[in-house]
């Protein structure tokens, strides 16, 4: 195959024989392969768009028929016309359980990460990391099972004691055993491996020179960690916490199994020992009853709020990571 086509804007080779430049089977293959790759990427875009469009298309008619404020009402009545549903209670339960989980999981998770990277003897570091990773391999339904059967009764006395001594604070008013508080603790256990795994990664990347500089100044190990490791790892820890929070907000089955539902019309309470329902647990609890489009739409609307919530949290995590990248590069 000889090459005769010479760009029009250039003069043709003068009198020389054209070189034989073979043209391989590459063209078609390249187009097919590159095309498949682009197609796959496009499928992902289409998929996400489709998710958004479908959920909105189902949620909007239901919200339009809603007789109360969707964001502010505490009612959830979708079984009979007219529909009256709002997400305030769901938002409260979802956010409170996730905050409890964060308050417990972030400090412990970071401490475990420091233990693995700085304190554990060499022989223990790897197995320790793997053991903590094992926590992530336990499916959430098993956490739910353990939470219901074992952990709730176990924390009962602690809840009772807190309720009786601190009960005058609205947050600790005595209510139920299967409470937001218990759910928060179980969620903390579930997200702990996420916090630890990501923090461990950033801590282990702390430049040796930073650490040695601190030690050479006569810092103790803890001082070295405070002056070199923690500041370096801070953005990583924040993004780890955010990703873990995203996970906690959307957790379904464990919450569904543990949290006791409230009777419709129960009075508002600030208590952590109250029952309730999160977005995910409400949807899961009623999954068998999606019979009319409006009813389904109401649950989907709740799902959308959850989606937006996790999206915002994940976006914050990503922004923190990006900033850090820009900073280190």
């Amino acid at each position: 195959m000889s090459v005769t086509g010479v760009p029009v804007d250039l003069e043709p080779p003068s009198g020389q024989e054209p070189t034989e430049v073979p043209r391989g089977p590459g063209r078609l293959g390249d187009r097919l392969f590159g095309g498949s790759a682009t197609l796959a990427g496009t499928i992902v875009i289409a998929l996400v768009t489709l998710v958004g469009v479908f959920l909105l298309a189902q949620a909007i008619p239901a919200i339009a028929k809603d007789q109360v404020n969707f964001l502010w009402s505490r009612e959830w009545n979708v079984d009979s016309e007219p529909l009256r549903f709002g997400v305030r209670d769901l938002l409260w339960a979802t956010v409170v359980t996730s905050i409890i989980a964060m308050l417990l999981a972030v400090p412990v998770g970071v401490a475990v990460a420091l233990f693995i990277t700085e304190y554990a003897p060499r022989w223990l570091a790897r197995p320790a990391a793997q053991l903590v990773d094992l926590l992530a391999a336990v499916p959430s339904i098993v956490y739910g099972l353990w939470g219901v059967a074992t952990f709730t009764p176990f924390v009962g006395p602690l809840q009772n004691w807190l309720g009786s001594t601190l009960g005058w604070i609205p947050l600790f008013a005595p209510k139920y055993q299967s409470s937001l508080f218990v759910v928060g603790i179980v969620l903390a256990i579930m997200i702990l491996p996420i916090v630890t795994a990501l923090s461990r990664e950033v801590f282990s990347q702390t430049p040796r020179t930073h650490k040695e500089a601190a030690l050479a100044l006569g810092a103790t190990k803890w001082e070295m960690i405070r002056t070199a490791v923690l500041p370096y790892g801070q953005p990583g820890v924040i993004s780890a916490a955010m990703l873990a929070l995203g996970r906690a907000l959307g957790e379904t089955i464990a919450v569904t199994m543990i949290l006791s539902a409230l009777a419709p019309g129960s009075p508002w309470s600030w208590s952590l020992f109250n029952g309730g329902a999160t977005f995910a647990s409400l949807i899961a609890n009623n999954a068998a009853e999606f019979d009319s489009p409006e009813k389904t739409g109401a649950y989907i609307a709740a799902g959308l709020v959850l989606f937006v919530l996790t999206f915002v949290v994940n976006a914050i995590a990503r922004i923190v990571i990006e900033r850090r990248k820009a900073f280190t590069e």
Binding site: A40, V44, A57, W146, T220, W222, G250, I253, F290, N314
Partner: protein
Amino acid sequence: MSHTATATTAANDPDSSGARHRDPLFTTASGGRKTKDLIAKVVMWAAFLLALSPLVWILWQVISFGGQNLMQSEWWTHSMRGITTRREGGGAYHAIMGTLLQGLVTGLISVPIGVFTAIYLVEYGRGRLARAVSFMVDILTGVPSIVAALFIYALWVTTFGWNRVGVAVSLSLVLLMIPTIVRSTEEMLKLVPNELREASLALGVPKWKTIASVVLPTAFSGIVTGVLLGLARVMGETAPLLILGPYTKNINFDLFSGNMATLPTMINDERQYLALPAAHDRVWAAALTLILLILLLNLAGRLIGRAGAVKA
């Protein structure tokens, strides 16, 4: 930075010298600083033990309650057909197969999409479309499983009017699995040195063959690891099953019709009768089976990853 921190601690303690050697030649760190250091050490150890306690607790419970059933061959070969909740016996065969089948289909759909998307992002993607794809993958990463399930419900049941069957569950799991595969594959492809791509291109090998014959084989074990870890994650998911995969006590291998049992729904179904000894043991046995399945996938993934890492 370290300067100021040391200085402030030193200011609090008049006799601190900053040296931490035991050698009498040097003054040792002051009592206060040493105490803090010790406290920190104790706290770290305590945090680790605290984190391990639920793991040990759960595993112990699952094994002691559920281990018995797993020793019986009936558990691995029989379904729950005809077994009432009060009766002993029955097995998880139907649920194990359901979980495996749905996982397999999920993998078959999401691996090509995920791997090719990663290839697009690393090898081809430039400019706007690539950024859009990457952004969408990020969004998918954050989609809670219950929302993914709601979407498939809205599409499959509400829009098309089809039944809740195995393949619908798989589709919702695909949504959860694609982002993990894309991200792990992307990571692995980026680890393949550019020099290898250039070496291949310089031999006159077309780009697609370079990717297929040089880049992908080099990244292969890492990609497999990502796929197995992703599978392990989605197989333990329960939320989509609640919405799209009703339980049955019978064996059903048909992904397109009828209810199909899975381990999570088996647990969910029998847990209502936790007070009955037979059901109690079956619930924990199913939980143990699910944990073992997921651990096996995790272990296989890690081993393959490590074997590949040595070779490269």
